[in-house]
Amino acid sequence: MNNLYSPIQAQIEEIIKETPTNKTFVIRPEAPIRFKAGQFMQLTVPGMGEAPFTPSSSPAVTEKMEITILKTGTVTDVLHTMQAGDNVGLRGPFGKGYPLDKFENKEVLVVGGGVGLAPLRSLILAMFEDMGKYKRLSIKYGAKTPEELLFRTSFDEWSKKPQTDLTVTIDVPAPGWEGKVGLVTSLLDDVDVDKPNSYVVSCGPGIMLRFVTYKLLEIGFEPEQIYLSMNRKMSCGVGKCGRCEVGPYYLCKDGPDMNYAKIKDVPNVFS
């Protein structure tokens, strides 16, 4: 019988310093891993434990995956000290992944905050693989400072893709920054997607998800059109250990991206 808790071996091939607090780890598992954009992996730091991460790379590439990680806790602190050539473990993929089939012939508004752009990049790259299927991809991204903007070197390339536009903002003015200033919600004020024929996908800190959701509802989106990458502590990844529960759902099995209509009445849903 398959042991759900045993990781497979993987090696860190390269580490890319993205921002002062984020690194992308290029990881080669001992066997290719097929995943859907939005599905997540449990990454083992030997002896330290596991933490859940959604790959930031395209699902079209299976022999290696990129995972972009914010330094923010016991496991990620150690990860940030690791070097190319170090070994890690992987379990997964887990979760449902983004409902790309639903997005066909629709406009997709992607709203990211901080490291939240990491899982969204996997979605963006997956959509680029077959952009003819979608009417439009509109990306709104915000970070605290210009240095904290993830994947900035890709922005030009993304903007040039067919039916794609990208707007970026930083929270407060910074020397040398000539772009937009304000929280990512401010980019939603003049959003011009065809609302009845669109979906929104958002990922970021809980407080951002809360205000993005409120703003989206205010400007006329329905809860059913909103997908949120929810944040909860996870351990088993397979709906048994109990902790990632949001109402009757386990994020590890039913998410981590949840349709807002399903969870809107859950107490403290955004915390």
Partner: protein, 351 residues
């Protein structure tokens, strides 16, 4: 399945036979405590029929409190595999059997099965017994269960003079009786009638114990309409976050995968965890959906009586009353539901 009779002497022989397959655990009274514990049986020992559930449930036999579930890195062929020891447990109560429905639904599912639980489950033979001595904490009848096993056992015992009426509840039980046919004889009509009378009596006693804490609708309904704060705050006052209620619960199944350095390589343990602990749902960076005790307290009820019901169609409670018995703060789930039910009704009227 058929009903048989076994004398006390022959039951000892049956247990000796089962001991050849693996360890046998028997529920027996712990001197001077009024409590009952599962103890590893020594050869030749019989069964001291207690008629009340043990302090411990069946959970630790199947879902171990702390267990190694993986070693890494590991060479092909040396993977951590579940222990396949045969275990017999004698003296489980109906509430223990009912609780296994929840654990089975969680750990053995179409998409993901926990091989450690599944392997133990398959290798455990359960000989249950009837409750003849329900105590104040018992509330199986409120949950819709009975103080006597109706399903989920391999064999079930009811005390009858100097022996037991034996009910066969599974193929495993059936084949055991077949192998050891000479130890059994037919149960007489009189012993069966006496057993059924004792059953009715026990059920009536549990109902009597719970007179006054019955609720007007399903616990799921009560929770859906429970007032947000005040009522919960009044119940959480004496909770000291010890998690005794969760660890002794036969259905609570939360765990944490915990990694550490082993002798040769790294190992992963699966360790019981409890949702009343502040760290249980705390994320990297410090955020948590349940920062306050009252939220965690409420979550336990919501999980057991709403979310598990949504997911598996059964409540995460068998009415065993262990949580009531274990709580140093005298928190009684029955009274919490009664109060929530009444408060919600009052509120409705006020509106």
């Amino acid at each position: 399945m058929n009903t048989r009779f076994i004398s006390e002497g022959n039951f000892v022989r049956l247990l000796d036979h089962l001991a050849e397959r693996g360890r046998v655990f028997v529920a027996e009274p712990v001197e001077d405590t009024g409590k009952i514990a599962f103890r590893a049986r020594q050869e030749g020992e019989g069964f001291d029929y207690t008629g009340f559930r043990a302090t411990q449930s069946l959970k630790p036999f199947l879902f171990v409190a702390r267990e190694k579930v993986a070693e890494y890195p590991c060479a092909a062929g040396s993977e951590t595999v579940p222990a396949a020891e045969h275990v017999t447990v004698v003296g489980a109560a109906a509430c223990d059997l009912a609780a296994l429905k929840t654990l089975d639904a969680v750990f053995i599912s179409e998409d993901f099965t926990d091989c450690f639980y599944a392997e133990r489950r398959a290798n455990t033979l359960i000989i249950s017994m009837e409750c003849t001595d329900p105590r104040d904490s018992c509330f199986c009848t409120l949950i819709g269960n009975k103080p006597y096993p109706e399903a989920g056992y391999d064999l079930n015992l009811a005390k009858a003079g100097a022996g037991y009426v034996v009910e066969v509840g599974s193929e495993k039980g059936e084949s055991l009786i077949g192998e050891q046919a000479s130890l059994f004889k037919d149960a007489s009509k009189e012993t069966l009638a006496a057993r059924d009378k004792a059953r009715e009596e026990a059920a009536r006693r549990v109902e009597d114990i719970n007179r006054g804490v019955e609720v007007s609708r399903s616990r799921q309904e009560i929770l859906k309409h429970a007032p947000e704060d005040e009522e919960w705050h009044s119940h959480v006052q004496t909770c000291v976050e010890c998690a005794a209620c969760l660890f002794c619960c036969p259905t609570c199944h939360c765990f944490l995968l915990y990694d550490q350095k082993g002798a040769e390589n790294f190992e992963r343990l699966k360790v019981w965890d409890a949702c009343v602990y502040a760290g249980y749902s705390r994320m990297a960076g410090g955020g948590t959906p349940r920062a306050f005790l009252v939220e965690r307290f409420r979550h336990r009820y919501a999980h057991k009586f709403d979310q598990i019901v949504e997911r598996h169609g059964i409540e995460g409670c068998s009415g065993c009353g262990r949580c009531i018995e274990a709580c140093p703060g005298n928190i009684d789930m029955r009274k919490v539901f009664k109060a929530l039910d009444s408060a919600a009704l009052t509120e409705k009227v006020a509106r």
